[in-house]
Symmetry: C2
Subunit: 262 residues, 2 copies
Amino acid sequence: MISIDRLEHIQPYAPKREKKYILLWCTSGDLLLRVDDKKLRLSKSELLTITSGQYFGILEQNKAMGFMLDFTLDFFCKTDHDIELVFQNGLFCHFDENELIAIPSPEQISGILEMIFKEFFVQPYQYLISIHSYVSLLLVEINRARIVNGYEIWKPDALFLRFLELVRNDFGEFVSLKELAQKLGTTTVRLNELSKSYTGKTALTVIFGLQISEAKRLMYYENLLMKEVAQRIGFEDQYYFSKFFKKQTGYSPTAYLKTIAS
Amino acid sequence: MISIDRLEHIQPYAPKREKKYILLWCTSGDLLLRVDDKKLRLSKSELLTITSGQYFGILEQNKAMGFMLDFTLDFFCKTDHDIELVFQNGLFCHFDENELIAIPSPEQISGILEMIFKEFFVQPYQYLISIHSYVSLLLVEINRARIVNGYEIWKPDALFLRFLELVRNDFGEFVSLKELAQKLGTTTVRLNELSKSYTGKTALTVIFGLQISEAKRLMYYENLLMKEVAQRIGFEDQYYFSKFFKKQTGYSPTAYLKTIAS
C-alpha cells in the first residue's frame, strides 16, 4: 500500500509506532517532529525519512507545506534492485539517527511528488505502476542530493538489507546468528563479511545496536516493567538485559529512563 | 542495453533484422518506414513500436523530429510486471501489423523522452534505474493513449508472453507444444487455455501465425532457397512447408514472392 497527502492537510498527532516507510518533504513553513526519542525540526527544502518500526509523531505544525508519502515495503520492493534503492545511503535504514536532508534542487522533488499526488487521487489506468516508477525516481533524486551534499555512497547489497529487516521484524524471540543465516540461505561467515564491509562492525554488534534502539523505544513509549522490556527484545532475564544495556550504551536502563523523564 | 537518439540525427538506412525493441516518436515532419513487408508513414504526434526480430529500416526522412529509443528485453524486464507492461495491448507483441498510435497528449511523451535523453547522455548517479522508471512511465502513457483512442485492453499474463518469446526465439528447430510447455514449467492444457483466452486461437494456431510471419521475412529479405526458408522455420520438407504456407495464408510461397516482386 501507498498513500500521499499534502502537509497542509496534516494536523499534529501524538507519536505512534509506524508500520510504514514515511517520507516528509517541506516546501515552506516548518514541522516540529518526534522520531523515537529525538526531536527534529523539518524546514523549507528539507526532507526526512522514517523507517517502519520507528515511533513518529508531529508535535507542531507551523504552516508547513509540502508532502507526506508513506508506503509499505511490499508495495515498493518487487526486486532486490528495489530493496537496495530503498535502503541505500541509509535512506530508510536508520541504525541510529534520522537526518534532515537538504535538497539542492527542490523543484525536482516537488515535481515528482505532485505527479504521485495526482496519480494517487485520479487513479488512471496502471496508476500503481506509474506511482512505483515515480517513487523510484524520487529515491534516486534524494540519493543524488546526498551526493551533492558530500555524503559518501553507502550501497549494501540486498542480502545484508534482508538480514537487517529480519532482525528488526522479530526482536521478541532470541534467534542465534546461525539461525538468522539459515533463514536467509547463507552462512554466519558471509553475514559477518557483509556486516564488516558495510558497517565496520560484526553482525552480532549490528544486532545489538538494533536491540538497543528497540529497547529505548519501548522504555520511552510503552508503560512496561523492565522485565517486559527485556523479554520484548529477546532477553529472558532482566539482570542480563541491564548489564547488556549498560555495556552497549554506557548507562543503565534506569539512568536512561531518568534522562528522558527530565 | 538501452539507447536513444533524436530523429533529426538519424539518416535513412536499409531494413535490417532488429535485435532490440524500438520505439519511434515523431513531433514534426515525417518518416517513411519499412517494417517487415509493409511501408508505414510516421507523422506528427504518432508513435510506432517495432518488436525484436522484425526487419526495420528508414526509407525517407522528411525533416522528422522526435526520438528513437531502443532497448533489449533483459534491460527492461526485471520482473513479470515489466514483461507484462512491455507486451500489453500488443505494444511490442506484433502478431501481424505494427500500428501507428496517435497520441492525444504529446507533451507527456515528449517530456518523458527528453528526460531519458538527458539521463542517457549525462549519466548521473543511478541513471540506469531512473531510465528504467522513465521507460515504465512511457509505456503506461502509451497504454493510456490507446485507451483514449478506444482500444480494448489486451492484458495477457507473463506466462503466455514467455511462450510467445520462446517460439519467436527459436524457429529453427521444430519443438512440439508439449516440449514448449515443459520448458515453461507448465502444461499444453494451460497454454491452450491462455492462448484461447488472449487470442481466441489454440496455442498451435498462434505458433503457426508466428512461423508464417518469420517465413515471409526470410522470403522478403534473405536470398534463400525455398528449402532453406522451410528449414529455418522448422520444416524438414519443402513440400510440406509449401502446403502449410498455402493453408495458413491462402496463397503459395511462389505467389507471395511474385506479390512482393511486383
